[in-house]
């Protein structure tokens, strides 16, 4: 089945088994293994990518459902030698250990900061309108779809604060 997707700014034509998830399309067919598979069931967030600017679990969607969509993966966010502010902050704050959840955390955080800028409330936001401060509580709440068994959570929160302070 043919699908045309814009991945990290480049138009890609995919000819895939319709059962192929977006995650497996990236990992097995496009050589983009930065997106990780932790559960394949939408339970861990390791596969988080952005589709048309919004974060989603790439394991929970089929590649063929994304004809014409713009997909941003960790490879599109920054590369060694050209790190995004968030990626840099994850390194300096040790926002990871094994690194397996990390691309998902960073994709998720990138989109999350945009959600805050757009004044989307979360479960812990006091008022549904008017936006939210970037408190530890807000960050933790909004990042809780991304599991980290190495439990770098306190450092992930620090990294996000640091990068956000630099306008990430």
């Amino acid at each position: 089945m043919q699908t045309n997707v814009i991945i990290n700014g480049t138009q890609r034509r995919l000819e895939l088994d319709p059962r192929t998830t977006l995650l497996d399309a990236l990992r097995h067919h496009l050589g983009l293994s930065g997106s990780k598979k932790g559960c394949d069931h939408g339970q861990c967030g390791a596969c988080t990518v952005m589709v048309n600017g919004r974060r989603i679990n790439a394991c929970l969607t089929l590649a063929c459902m994304h004809d014409g969509d713009e997909v941003t993966t960790i490879e599109g966010i920054g590369q060694p030698g050209n790190l995004s502010a968030l990626q840099e902050a994850f390194v300096s704050e040790d926002g990871f250990q094994c690194g397996y959840c990390t691309p998902g955390q960073i994709c998720s955080a990138t989109a999350m900061l945009e959600e805050i800028r757009n004044e989307w409330p979360s479960h812990v936001t006091d008022d549904l309108v008017g936006g939210a401060e970037l408190t530890n509580e807000e960050i933790s709440e909004r990042m809780s779809g991304n599991l980290c068994r190495c439990s770098a959570y306190p450092n992930i929160v620090e990294a996000i604060r640091k990068a956000a302070g630099k306008g990430a």
């Binding site: 559960c39 861990c44 809780s144």
Partner: protein, 729 residues
């Protein structure tokens, strides 16, 4: 050239203190960080190999009986399917850590529900998954087998039995005593990267790209499983997406991939799916623990009793070493301990982060909290009064032990003095409580090798089959070599995770950093001697810094000393007499503040602090992260983590990350960690001990003790879920 070193005497020279480069201990970033944050570090299931096909494993639907694949021919004809393999070499369960040989094998009979008994291989992952789901597995002539540890037959572990003095007498004479039973459930390591292997053969030579913690053992386990010579096996594992014990020993997917790849003559990739990780890798055994503490009116212990029951599959010798730290943590002249192993048909029990202490110290620390309330003294004070002068059983001295300082300093940092009385503090709908617990974990040095090469251009290369499972190996080995050879961190290249490199101790048991670090240190010392020879000075008079050698009032660039040569040395460390001469362990203390909802019984951890002493800290940043990770495992253990087994057939009911509740970001406050300055000359020439597991060894008790302080409710069956708290509110 090999430099061998055996740890037979304390290393009082503390040479790392004198090195000029100043790398060891510094909170340096991980050198592989840029790869990990950009998704360019390659994990096991991410190698793209020409002609690779995909295998998906299939499980037994019951816990007993002969396996029958009733529609095997039909499945073999499904689109893309290349083979349906049921082979007697498939592993019944993973190898235990450091087993060094094949575990029980066989795919003809089921022993537990979830056992992986076949593999279906197809051109694509989607085809293989579909075919694996279509394969009908039935079991014939099954029997009723025990699945419940409370009723299964037990085997006393005689070598774990201790009877010193008269505990019964001490209990009856004690002014204050505690006699309590606690239970802890089974836990899952749940690394974020599922177990995965890609096998490819070239003739009779097998290469396995996989995710393992201890490659030199895994290589032998794989060779033994396949009945081939270990020289034929290479395992590559540069990045491991977490292990926490579950990747210590070879797991079923590795052997399945190797068998399938051989049969098909093509590389085969096999990744366990998340449910299979839960059902067919390792669990921490559930425990039932009875603690008996006898104390005088001041809370000084006269008796200490610890009896535990754990479980495992038939044929497995591993019994969760629950009593490990009970032998040396606290005083008490009259001591009694025992461990028994129930035989049952649940998935294999093995090492999960800090086997033994994670659950053993936790329950000891709950019992100590109960005793502190009996006696009516501050729980910190109770611990301080019971720090033994010498090991209470062997009467050996301790190596370094800043246990007292950790308790006192941790209490100070946390603000323990402001702790409320039981059920005394309230914040709106939330009941607030403080709790504390001690931390303790045994320390070990293991055989390990590394090659260090000083290159003509004044850079160095460190090579060993040691792994970095998130523990910081890439960082610390470069820091040790950089300090010893006087090179900035970025002039040292660290290459890990390949059995073609010198065999290391592996990542596990908290011994990885000190053991592999020592092998690097030994190799570097030999290189220093050779440099000194070239300069005709005593090695101890040679100062190396920023790739320059300073000696006898002269300075020379290393490149000039080397004059186009390279110097390569193999460092080889062996444990020696210091292992037994003294009691070696790491210590610490945890402090937690919880809020328990007065109506629902929900517990939130508001603050948590840990103070730890583990010898020399090799990298303050990665060591702290290890402690954060351990403490978070403690939060999970205290509040949510529990493998649930179906009482009818023993299968794991909550076999996924939605139902086995590991802590999420919102469950974990901004934990704080203090690493106490310490040197342990008995542990290694680095004066470093292990820190990877210390953070979990008692952590959960600080939280459950805080729940008691907040609510007056003692939850003695972990985890402290709301249903158990609310009944007492």
């Amino acid at each position: 050239m090999t430099e061998q070193f055996k740890m037979d005497a304390p290393a009082t020279e503390r040479r790392l203190d004198d090195m000029a480069q100043g790398l060891v201990g510094a909170p340096l970033d991980r050198p592989e960080g840029a790869l990990k944050v950009t998704g360019t570090a390659t994990y096991a299931n991410e190698w793209q190999i020409e002609g690779m096909v995909h295998g998906v494993m299939v499980r037994a639907p019951g816990n007993s009986g002969r396996v029958v694949l009733s529609n095997r021919e039909a499945v073999a004809k499904m689109p893309g399917v290349l083979s349906v393999i049921q082979d007697d070499r498939l592993l019944r369960n993973p190898a235990q850590g450091t087993a060094n040989k094949a575990p029980v094998q066989g795919a003809q009979h089921a022993t537990y529900l979830g056992q992986l008994i076949a593999i279906v291989v197809a051109e694509s992952f989607e085809q293989a998954r579909h075919a694996a789901q279509a394969l009908k597995v039935t079991l014939e002539n099954g029997e009723m087998v025990p699945v419940d540890p409370a009723t299964a037959a037990v085997e006393p572990q005689e070598d774990q039995t201790l009877d010193q003095g008269n505990l019964d007498g001490a209990m009856s004479e004690a002014k204050h005593s505690v006699d309590v039973v606690y239970t802890t459930p089974s836990h899952s390591s749940s690394p974020m990267e599922p177990h995965a292997s890609i096998a490819s053969w070239e003739g009779e030579d097998l290469t396995l790209r996989a995710s393992y913690q201890m490659l030199k053992y895994n290589r032998n386990e794989l060779a033994d499983s396949l009945r081939i010579h270990p020289d034929r096996v290479r395992i590559i594992s540069p990045y491991v997406g977490g292990g926490f014990g579950s990747k210590l020993g070879l797991a079923p997917e590795a052997v399945a991939a190797a068998i399938a790849a051989k049969e098909l003559g093509r590389p085969v990739s096999v990744a366990l799916h998340r449910q299979q990780v839960y059902e067919a890798t390792m669990r921490r055994s559930e425990t039932r623990q009875r603690l008996r503490l006898a104390a005088d009116s001041d809370g000084r212990l006269s008796g200490f009793g610890h009896d535990a029951r754990v479980s495992n599959l038939p044929g497995e010798t591993f019994a969760e070493p629950v009593l490990q730290a009970s032998h040396f943590l606290y005083a008490g002249a009259n001591r009694k301990m025992s461990l028994e192993l129930a035989r049952l048909h649940r998935l294999c029990a093995g090492s999960v982060r800090a086997p033994g202490e994670a659950v053993g110290v936790t329950v000891v620390e709950n019992a100590m909290d109960e005793l502190a309330h009996e006696v009516g003294i501050d729980p910190v004070e109770l611990r301080l009064r019971n720090i033994p002068e010498k090991d209470p059983e062997s009467v050996k001295d301790y190596s370094s032990r800043r246990f007292r300082e950790a308790l006192q300093s941790g209490a100070e940092i946390f603000g323990w003095a402001k702790r409320p009385g039981v059920k005394e503090r309230r914040d709106g709908e939330w009941l607030i409580g403080y709790g504390m617990a001690s931390a303790a974990r045994i320390n070990a040095l293991m055989e390990s090798q590394a090659r260090v090469t000083l290159l003509p251009d004044g850079t160095a290369r460190v090579e060993t089959d040691m792994t970095d499972i998130g523990t910081g190996t890439y960082a610390i080995l470069g820091q040790i070599a950089g300090d010893m050879l006087g090179l900035p961190r970025d002039k040292v290249d660290v290459i890990l995770g390949d059995t073609n490199l010198p065999p290391a101790a592996g990542s596990g048991g908290s011994w990885g950093a000190s053991s592999s670090g020592t092998s690097v240190y030994i190799a570097c010392e030999a290189i220093r001697r050779q440099l000194a020879d070239r300069l005709d000075v005593n090695e101890h008079d040679l100062m190396l810094k920023d790739a320059r050698a300073t000696y006898a009032n002269q300075t020379k660039a290393l490149t000039d000393v080397l004059q186009g040569d390279e110097i390569a040395k193999l460092g080889h460390v062996l444990p020696g007499e210091t292992s037994d001469a003294v009691r070696q362990a790491t210590f610490g203390a945890y402090f937690a503040e919880v809020a328990v909802h007065a109506a629902s019984g929900e517990t939130r951890v508001r603050r948590m602090h840990g103070s730890f002493a583990a010898g020399r800290i090799l990298n303050a940043k990665t060591a702290r992260s290890q402690c954060l990770g351990g403490m978070t495992f403690g939060i999970g253990m205290a509040l949510t983590e529990e493998l649930t087994f179906d009482p009818r057939d023993g299968h794991v009911v909550n076999h996924n990350l939605a139902e086995y509740h590991i802590p999420v970001n919102a469950d974990v406050p901004q934990l704080t960690v203090e690493l106490l300055e310490e040197r342990d000359d008995w542990a290694s020439p680095l004066q470093a001990k292990g820190i990877g597991e210390l953070g979990i060894c008692g952590a959960a008790a600080a939280i459950t003790n805080a729940i008691y302080n907040a609510t007056g409710v003692r939850v003695r069956n972990y985890p402290a879920t709301l249903d158990k708290v609310i009944v007492g509110l």
